[in-house]
Symmetry: C2
């Protein structure tokens, strides 16, 4: 009998085998298997029949960009997103973001996820920090366009407004994105960050072709002691994935559904069990609401 991690409860459905059409749209964000290196995550995806991976810059640097691009291609995978650009209040933000755009281009990755960053040290000027994000994105746009990589603004749960991401709602992220062409600046719809937003379904409809990335994880209670590592596997918490997924599909999104779960207990489980749990939950709770076929 298969067991879900980290809950330890019996699996509700058999694990989809590689080639199962229900896996066609599933992508693994590699932070979901944080104990794996990038080569391990690539091999794990290939073994599990997950055709798309979201890559993080730190493990990418360990492997080397060219080696990683070869390895990912040889495994038959595609890269859905590179995490993370942004952090516009840190020292060499422009150089770091241009480097990230170069890496995304080298991986043939269409999307650079922008985590806006928090308040500057000692500052209480939230509006100023938000204005700074708008200015920084405008400065990045020509670099992104030149590389054919789309910037994806990630609105983050207000729990992170002080220290990680000052853009707190999809509505606000769209206000910023709409100042630029949709093929250059999009948004991330992340269920953990946005599930609570009043009117979020209407904002998803408004986003339309600007949805550059759909990331899924659940909101669980009680919130674990380290809120940053407090996300749940899809189905373990309070989020209505049916309504959100249908809205994202209705908005025209045809890309991968990237499972991105920061959870200390999950990270302690063997990576293959993590992937199997995520595949089952995707097949049960997300895939039924997606159009048939592979992501585009």
């Amino acid at each position: 009998m298969n067991t879900d991690v980290p809950t330890g409860t019996p699996a509700r459905i058999p694990t989809p085998e590689p080639g199962d059409p229900r896996l066609a749209r599933l992508a693994l964000n590699q932070r979901t298997t944080a104990s794996w290196t990038l080569p391990e995550a690539v091999r794990g995806c290939a073994d599990a029949g997950i055709g798309t991976i979201g890559v993080w810059r730190e493990p990418l640097a360990e492997t080397g960009v060219q080696a990683a691009a070869r390895m990912i291609g040889d495994a038959g995978l595609r890269v859905s997103s590179l995490c993370r650009g942004g952090f516009f209040t840190s020292g060499d933000w422009l150089g770091e973001n241009i480097a990230a755009l170069d890496e995304a281009a080298a991986l043939d990755c269409p999307t650079l996820v922008l985590v806006p960053g928090g308040l500057p040290e000692g500052s209480r000027d939230l509006n100023g920090a938000r204005q700074r994000v708008a200015e920084a994105i405008a400065e990045l746009v020509p670099h992104a366009r030149a590389r054919g990589v789309r910037l994806a603004i990630e609105p983050m749960h207000p729990i992170f407004a002080a220290d990680r991401g000052v853009i707190s709602t999809l509505a606000h992220a769209l206000d910023l994105a709409e100042q630029h062409p949709p093929e250059v600046v999009g948004v991330v719809v992340d269920t953990f960050h946005l599930w609570w937003e009043p009117g979020v379904l209407a904002q998803i409809a408004r986003a339309g072709e600007r949805i550059a990335c759909y990331q899924v994880s659940d909101w669980i209670t009680p919130l674990p002691p380290d809120a940053l590592l407090g996300r749940g596997v899809v189905g373990d918490g309070h989020i209505d994935f049916t309504a959100l997924t249908r809205a994202v599909v209705a908005a025209g999104y045809r890309g991968p559904v990237e499972v991105e779960v920061f959870n200390a207990e999950l990270w302690a489980a063997p990576g293959a069990q993590v992937l199997a749990t995520c595949a089952r939950r995707h097949a049960e709770l997300i895939a039924p609401h997606l159009p048939k076929g592979r992501s585009t």
Copy 2:
């Protein structure tokens, strides 16, 4: 030398003495001194020159409503708010809220704070829970009006959307409040819950006479392990109290400024030191932005 609690840093200004006009608008929400009984909190306020107290139902029940009303009156205090009504998804919500309204009336307290409550057990229907709040408030309105007590909807930080308060923004709280006359249904402006809301200053202006209660505490990072007890004393965190206080004043609010800090470290400090710290921070960071004179 005075020391601030819980930081242990030297006080930046002398503690205002009783009668200092800078204390005229300060109120103590009794949860800030959670280790004190209600009689202890009443005596503590009187000793510190704090003329107004926000009362919680649980310690009120321990003292008894009539005894508490006498004791508060004898000490020359007024009651700014009673916490908490609401929790509209729990069993006998109507009976509990009517009892709370009776208690508020007995204390000559103008305001019952409504904490809306979270999702019903096992439910993922956030919109349904929000609709439920609107219906429950409509049902409570005649009971509140009959007692001359104002219902104050408390929008709560999205960190609490699942398990404590499904109304997450001041904008949304006002959408609900505006279905009723302002003298019967108002809102709570709590800095901890709302500081991150895009457009919050415009929403405070929109609120105008509906601001029934202004509660202050700070957002500190890193967030303590128990997020519910993670609030900071005014000035210890990231919130711009100048902008928020000025907006509340500009909206016409002339009531008390209730310091409400849930913080496990603060609760471990002696109550008199807690009050002295709060009085200093109020004098330094809030009072300069208030019109002169006692609250109304």
